[in-house]
Symmetry: C2
Subunit: 78 residues, 2 copies
């Protein structure tokens, strides 16, 4: 069963990678682009019987190993 996880910076946390892309886009003439935020997208393939169990396990793994809970937040994508 595949669970999709999205990890993003918490609101208020600086995103230097996103800011760099934003600056470059604006310099290239994309003046209507106002903000860019870059996070991680993770697909985890877990061999369990139910979707609930797979999501629970994926969230546990995200919390412990994939996201930095001080500056990042994560969610399961349906």
């Amino acid at each position: 069963m595949t669970v999709k996880i999205i990890v993003t910076h918490k609101p208020g946390v600086l995103d230097p990678q996103g800011q760099t892309v934003l600056k470059n886009l604006q310099q290239l003439g994309h003046k209507d682009v106002h903000d860019v935020r870059i996070g991680k997208y993770i697909e985890i393939d877990i061999d369990v019987s139910s979707r609930e169990e797979a999501e629970k396990k994926a969230l546990e793994i995200s919390d412990k190993m994939l996201a930095n809970p001080v500056i990042e937040t994560f969610r399961v994508e349906p």
Copy 2:
């Protein structure tokens, strides 16, 4: 208007970051995890009047600047 873009490796393209996470998870006892693929999640805030226009522009930017079309594929997330 915020458009969400997901960039992933094309099928068949090696994902060393995902493989490393997978190996670590299995070593830590998560034997039921069979695969991990890691991509990018990008939120682009564009000041245009319609969602169609925003998505079109975001896809154009992704194609030219955010994804490597040789090894990556991307899509708009609803």
